[in-house]
Structures are given as structure tokens and as C-alpha cells.
């Protein structure tokens, strides 16, 4: 047995597999028992096997700054993260509820604006936001759904309670890695699967297909669905190709499509122009159509928004959905749930201070060393200040940024993110994690059983983004209690 198991403690944090006294939790006990039985050499050989599988399966992601060699192997920790189905059920209901409310909000904002006139969400923070897209006003997409694919970031605090950290409603990525992680674990730790019933998740491409197909403006047995990618240099290109492949859909770039005189979207194929029914777009909305948004876009399709507004093509996620993907709007999601659904929120928000409010701002400015400050409108962990881990100078810099543009900043208490056993440098150590489940909604709605677990591989670090050195784990939802 690898001896670091004996001294394994995650002081001050909730560890998902081990109790504070160093014993396995009930749901994880079979897995931990098996891992215990492996020698140091055997553990290492499993790590090597995982790396080999990743290379063979060609799982990669792309890093912007590395120029010539842009594909990087996917960083993976082979010890699975285990969550009981009971805990999961509650969380997944909460996620579905959130997604319904968010779609009500987006549809409302671009149509009747009831939530603004009732004063529940201040009108100016919506209407003056860069995410509020004028061309989308008055559009009525199918089922009143704008965000069809959502990736929500979930964390657990020191008591193990789930919180939603943010909702990604533009082009959330990571779902292909979630599926591949399971595939790697099956190859590397096949013995573990004997004693567990783990909810399978490889039917995601099929669920995605059904979600998208329901949006088709033409009634056809097999509507023409395409995945629109900005191209090979995008960090998620692997995923774009993976999902297109999984759905049997074409992977297209902007230059492959054009909008005809009849307002329909066509792709340039060897059989001539072929009409497209549904576009799963993986490019940012700003770049989708130089006629409607950024004129300098070279990855978009001229006239696409015109076609969408005419109801000739469905776009997922719909342009404009980003209006709800904003860290200020996030603070109002529990209010939205009460307002639109008349329900109590089933999953909590992290307490959030809005710097636009004077009272909140004063609190934030005098507690910068305790808080995490985030720009309202960035993703991938960029532009964030983690107060306790930052210097006085950084605090000063952020104080200035906040004073200059309060609408653009929010702050949250530093969360004690949960940990799980992770294989690092030949021993087992606790590392912090988060979770990104994916929620689908069109005529029906669905949540992935589990999600993509990201793990901060540096000791004590809370930064889990793969673009900043994070890794990932397979996530198991298992039958039984804990």
C-alpha cells in the first residue's frame, strides 16, 4: 500500500471521499479499499496507463499562446470523484429549475420586460449591459427557450453543501472531456466497476441531438444539424469535432455557410448548396454575423441573424442568451426563480456583493483581503483577484478598477472548496475541485448524470481551469447513501 494514504487529511475542508479522521466515506469505501490494495509501483503504472490512453485516444485541448505546438494532452487524475445519487438528485432538480428560470428571464428581457418594470432586476443593469443585444428584441424562439445548453459551475463548501458559482450560457465547453474521462477510467481501473452501479453518461451526444432536432423549423425525420466552429485554433476544437462526430452532424466553419435570397441558411457541399435547419454554434455571438454584430468578424456568416429572426434556422444557444450570463445578473437568479416559477430555489447561490450598490461596494473595498473579486463579464478564470492570496499592490489595483467601473465588478467570500484524494508526484494528496454539469433544454430538459470535475493540481490552489494548469477527474454518481 502507498503510505501517504495513512497520513491523508484535508484540514479545514470538506473531503468528498475521506472523513476528517482519515477513513473512507461510505460511498467511496469500495474504491478506496481497492486503491489501498495497490502498491506504489502499481499506482504509478495506472497513471502511466492513463497517460497512454489519453495519447492513443487523441484527447487534447489547445492553448492559445503556444504557437506552433498547439495541441496539449488532456491533464487527468485517475482517482474518480464519487457522489451519491441521493445528493445528486437534489442538485440536478435545482439545476433544471435554474435553467427554466434563466430562459424565462431571457425571453422576458427581449419581449415584455416584466421583471424590469416590476423592479426586481434594475432595468439599467440589463439594458446598459454589453450582453443585451438590440437585434434580438421581439424574437420568439421555439419553446421560448434561448439557452439550450448550459454548463453551470458548482462548488461544495466546508460542510459539503452545493453552491452554483456561475451559469455559462454562451458556449460552455468541457462535455467531451467528461465523456472521455469515463472512457479512460474504464481502461485504467476496470476492477473498480465491478462493485459499483455508476450512472452512465456516454449518451450525451444523443441527448444533444434530440435537444437540437426539436428546434428544427422544418418538420423532417432527420433535420440538418451543423456544429459551427471558429476553427482549429480554438481551444475547444477537439470538442467541436467530437460532438459533430457523435451526432453525425457536419462540423462547419463560417465560410462553409451562406444565407440565400430566401433567408435560408445553406452549406456549400459537393452536391451543391444544402439547407441547414439547426446550428449548434460554438462561436461567440459577437462574431456570428458581421451584418448584425462585429463587422470585422471573419468566422461568422453574413445574414445569419436575419435568417434566424425570419424563423428559417434555429440557433443554439440563441444569440442574446448571454444577457443572463453575467456575474451581476447571477446575483438575481434566486429572485428570478421566485418571480417566474413561484418556487423556492433548490440550489444556493454563493453570496455576492454587487459593487454597483454603494453599501456593497464600501464593504468590498474595506475587505479586499478576504474576498474574491471578479469582473462581471470574463470567463476562463481571467481577471480574477483572490484576496487572501494577493499582494497589497494587487488589492490597490483592484480598488481602482472597482471605483472606476463599479458595474463591472462583483465580490464573493473566499469559499473553502471541497477536496478529494488526488495522485500527485507519487503520493495521495487532497486537492480542491469544482464540478461542471451540463443542462439541456428545448421541448424537454435533462441534466448530465455528473459532470466535468476540474481539479487544481497545485497544493492549496483554487484555480481549476485547464487553460491555467488545472486537471480533471472522472465523476461518478453511484447508487446508495453516504
Amino acid at each position: 500500500m502507498e503510505k501517504s494514504w495513512k497520513t491523508y487529511r484535508s484540514e479545514g475542508f470538506f473531503d468528498e471521499s475521506m472523513t476528517p479522521r482519515g477513513n473512507p466515506r461510505a460511498a467511496a469505501s469500495q474504491a478506496i479499499k481497492f486503491l489501498h490494495s495497490l502498491s506504489s509501483d502499481e499506482l504509478n503504472s495506472r497513471r502511466v496507463a492513463a497517460e497512454l490512453a489519453i495519447k492513443e485516444m487523441g484527447i487534447s485541448f489547445t492553448v492559445y499562446t503556444e504557437g506552433g505546438n498547439i495541441d496539449r494532452a488532456w491533464p487527468f487524475d485517475f482517482i474518480p470523484r464519487i457522489i451519491t445519487s441521493r445528493e445528486w438528485r437534489q442538485l440536478s432538480l435545482g439545476l433544471l429549475q435554474r435553467m427554466r428560470a434563466l430562459n424565462c428571464f431571457i425571453d422576458d428581457v427581449y419581449n415584455k420586460q416584466k421583471i424590469l418594470s416590476s423592479g426586481i432586476v434594475p432595468a439599467e443593469i440589463v439594458l446598459e449591459s454589453n450582453n443585451y443585444l438590440e437585434p434580438c428584441v421581439g424574437v420568439n424562439p421555439a419553446f421560448a427557450v434561448w439557452a439550450h445548453i448550459c454548463g453551470s459551475d458548482i462548488v461544495r463548501d466546508h460542510k459539503g453543501q452545493f453552491f452554483v458559482l456561475e451559469d455559462n450560457l454562451r458556449v460552455p465547453s468541457g462535455v467531451s472531456y467528461m465523456i472521455e474521462n469515463r472512457e479512460i477510467t474504464k481502461r485504467v481501473l476496470p476492477e473498480l466497476f465491478e462493485n459499483y452501479s455508476i450512472l452512465p453518461l456516454d449518451d450525451y451526444p444523443l441527448k444533444l441531438y434530440e435537444t437540437l432536432a426539436a428546434l428544427s423549423p422544418r418538420a423532417r425525420r432527420r433535420p440538418n444539424i451543423v456544429v459551427l466552429t471558429p476553427g482549429i485554433y480554438n481551444s475547444a476544437y477537439f470538442e467541436h469535432a467530437y460532438l459533430a462526430h457523435g451526432m453525425g452532424a457536419e462540423l462547419v466553419e463560417g465560410s462553409d455557410l451562406f444565407v440565400g435570397e430566401d433567408d435560408c441558411v445553406y452549406m456549400r457541399s459537393v452536391d451543391g448548396p444544402t439547407r441547414v435547419d439547426v446550428i449548434y454554434r460554438r462561436i461567440n455571438e459577437d462574431f456570428m454575423d458581421p451584418d448584425a454584430f462585429r463587422e470585422d468578424s471573419v468566422v461568422g456568416v453574413r445574414g445569419l441573424i436575419r435568417s434566424w429572426k425570419a424563423g428559417r434556422v434555429a440557433i443554439a444557444n440563441a444569440p442574446g442568451a448571454g444577457v443572463a450570463d453575467d456575474k451581476v445578473i447571477y446575483a438575481f437568479v434566486p429572485d428570478m426563480i421566485r418571480f417566474y416559477l413561484k418556487e423556492k430555489p433548490l440550489v444556493k447561490n454563493v453570496p455576492t456583493y454587487l459593487c454597483m450598490r454603494e453599501k456593497d461596494r464600501n464593504y468590498v473595498l474595506s475587505n479586499l483581503d478576504k474576498l474574491v473579486v471578479k469582473p462581471a463579464n470574463e470567463s476562463g478564470g481571467y481577471g480574477i483577484m483572490v484576496g487572501p492570496h494577493s499582494t497589497k499592490e494587487t488589492h490597490k489595483k483592484f480598488a481602482q478598477l472597482i471605483e472606476k467601473n463599479p458595474r463591472n465588478y462583483i465580490a464573493q467570500p473566499t469559499l473553502s472548496l471541497s477536496t478529494a484524494p488526488t495522485y500527485v508526484d507519487g503520493s495521495i494528496q487532497p486537492r480542491h475541485l469544482d464540478l461542471r454539469p451540463f443542462i439541456l433544454q428545448s421541448n424537454d430538459s435533462w441534466v448530465t448524470p455528473g459532470g466535468l470535475t476540474r481539479v487544481a493540481l497545485q497544493k492549496g490552489s483554487l484555480v481549476v481551469n485547464s487553460s491555467q494548469g488545472g486537471g480533471s477527474k472522472d465523476t461518478w454518481i453511484v447508487e446508495g447513501d453516504s
Binding site: I232, F258, M267
Partner: protein, 310 residues
């Protein structure tokens, strides 16, 4: 199938074939020069000419000699006629079409491209040259074999096949052109070295044993030209390639113009009268035929890769 994907597959296939064929030409030439007596220096400029590399070559190098020509073809990744250039272009085209190809294709192409990048710079000299070229040829054959044996016979297969055959026909004519050029710097049409020269050309086309079985052991110019251009059963002959292209294109929609171009090239081929052709006439014929191939390429581009808005 998307036009863009079809175009990339077509070019992937052409570049892969070009990689292999360039390795074959260099390899054959390499054998040939060792058989020549001292003093009978072969014309190295012919290699540069037939691969359309003259302007670039003279920018990079001062004198035309073995070392420089080999450096150009084997190791210069900036030269569009070089092995590293063609290989890199093939790799780039596979990278964005991975999902329509058999899974191992990307891995094999990627590995070969890494191999070329690593080993080519040390393979210019006579000592390592042969092993490098042989390895490149064999790995290209592996990749072709993989695609031939596992690809579904759909659009992807058609464009890959057409690309390979078109490139193969083009390179075959270029190889004959090496012989038609005054490689040994002499005037008469008969020479003691003629069989050596044409034997090397057959080698370059992997055609030696097929030729012997079909024509016999005697190697002379007319018979070789006849075999390389007009044989209907040898898979690397020009006629065989044209036939395959015609068959494949016929399956696609909108094939009228490209098939007409195939027809023109076919008729041109049938008018080849080799018996009393001078070297110059043969060269002119090859030039003209390559022009036909280029027109066919443009017709393919027009019909399937440039779909205009309606």
C-alpha cells in the same frame, strides 16, 4: 460532404502522394548516379526543372550540384517541391478532416511528419539518404493501405482517390521527363547508359517487375514510355490513373465539366506516337499533357470546391 472538407481531403491525398513520389524520384536518381562512370556527371538541373523549382532554387543556392539539389528536395521545408513541405501540407489537411478519416490516419500521418522533420536534415548526404527515403516511401504506403482498406466508399473516398491518382499521373509524367531531358549530356539517341537510365525510371515508379513480366527484360526508351503512359493494367500508369479518375468522378453530381477534361486528356494520351519521337518531341508531349492535367484539376475545383452563393 462539405466542399471545404472535400477539398482538404483531395489535397491531403495529393500531398501524401507527392511526398512518396518525390522520395521515389530522388531514390531512383540516387541509384543511377552510382552506376555512372567517373566524369559522366548527370545533369542535376533536370531534377530542379521537372519539379518546377527553378526560381526558388536559384534564390537559395549558387551552384547546381548533388549536395544542393538534395538539400532542396530532402530537407528544405520552405521549398514547395521538397519532401518536408509536402508532408507538412498533408498533415495540416488531415488535422482538420480527422473525423471523416479512419481513426489511425491522423496518428500515422502525424508520426511520419515528425519523423521527416527530425531525420530529413541528416539525410542529405549519401550515407543516410537511402534509409530515409525508403522509410518515407514505406510509411506513405502504409497510410494509403489503411485508407484503401477501411474507408467507406463515399464522397471522402472519391476525393481521396481522385487526388492520389491525379498526383500519381502527374508525377509519372515528370519521371519520364527526367529521361526525356538530356540527363547524360549527350547528343545521340542511343547510349550505353540508356538502359540504366530507363531502368531507374521504372524503379522510381515501382514498375520494374511489372514491366519485365509484361514487356520483357529488355529496357529501352520506347517500350518504357509506352508502358508508363499506356499500360492499362499497371496501377501507376498514366492511363490507369486517368481511368480511375473518370470512374470516381462519374459517381459525383455535377460531373459534366470535369469528365470532359478527363476525356480530353484521354484522347491526348491515345495520340501518343512514340516510335519516331525525338527527345524534344517527347518533352513537348509531356508538357502538353501536364497542362491537360492542370485543366482537369481546375475543373474539379470549379465543380466541387467553389460553391457560390445562390
Amino acid at each position: 460532404m462539405l466542399s471545404r472538407v472535400a477539398e482538404r481531403l483531395y489535397w491531403m491525398s495529393r500531398y501524401l502522394e507527392r511526398t512518396e513520389d518525390t522520395a521515389r524520384i530522388v531514390s531512383a536518381y540516387n541509384h543511377l548516379i552510382m552506376d555512372l562512370p567517373k566524369g559522366a556527371e548527370p545533369g542535376w538541373d533536370i531534377m530542379v526543372q521537372i519539379l518546377d523549382a527553378e526560381p526558388y532554387f536559384h534564390q537559395r543556392f549558387r551552384s547546381v550540384n548533388e549536395q544542393n539539389v538534395l538539400k532542396l528536395l530532402v530537407a528544405d521545408d520552405g521549398a514547395s517541391c521538397s519532401i518536408p513541405y509536402a508532408m507538412e501540407a498533408a498533415r495540416e489537411n488531415v488535422r482538420t478532416t480527422r473525423d471523416v478519416l479512419p481513426e489511425e490516419t491522423w496518428e500515422l500521418v502525424n508520426e511520419l511528419s515528425l519523423f521527416v522533420r527530425e531525420v530529413a536534415p541528416n539525410s542529405v548526404g549519401r550515407r543516410n539518404r537511402h534509409a530515409f527515403l525508403a522509410e518515407v516511401i514505406s510509411r506513405c504506403q502504409t497510410i494509403n493501405g489503411l485508407m484503401t482498406s477501411t474507408l467507406t466508399r463515399d464522397h471522402a473516398y472519391s476525393f481521396i482517390k481522385v487526388g492520389r491518382l491525379l498526383e500519381c499521373a502527374d508525377m509519372a509524367t515528370r519521371m519520364v521527363d527526367v529521361g526525356a531531358g538530356d540527363i547524360l549530356d549527350r547528343d545521340g539517341s542511343t547510349s550505353a547508359f540508356d538502359p540504366l537510365l530507363w531502368g531507374a525510371m521504372l524503379q522510381a515508379l515501382s514498375a520494374s517487375s511489372a514491366y519485365r513480366r509484361q514487356v520483357g527484360p529488355l529496357v529501352d526508351r520506347n517500350a518504357v514510355v509506352d508502358f508508363v503512359f499506356l499500360d492499362t493494367s499497371f496501377p501507376r500508369s498514366v492511363k490507369f490513373c486517368m481511368q480511375g479518375i473518370g470512374q470516381e468522378l462519374g459517381k459525383l453530381t455535377n460531373h459534366e465539366e470535369p469528365l470532359r477534361a478527363v476525356g480530353r486528356a484521354w484522347r491526348r494520351l491515345n495520340r501518343l506516337t512514340k516510335e519516331d519521337m525525338t527527345q524534344a518531341e517527347l518533352h513537348a508531349f509531356i508538357d502538353d499533357f501536364q497542362h491537360q492535367l492542370n485543366e482537369l484539376h481546375m475543373a474539379i475545383e470549379e465543380a466541387w470546391f467553389r460553391i457560390a452563393n445562390v
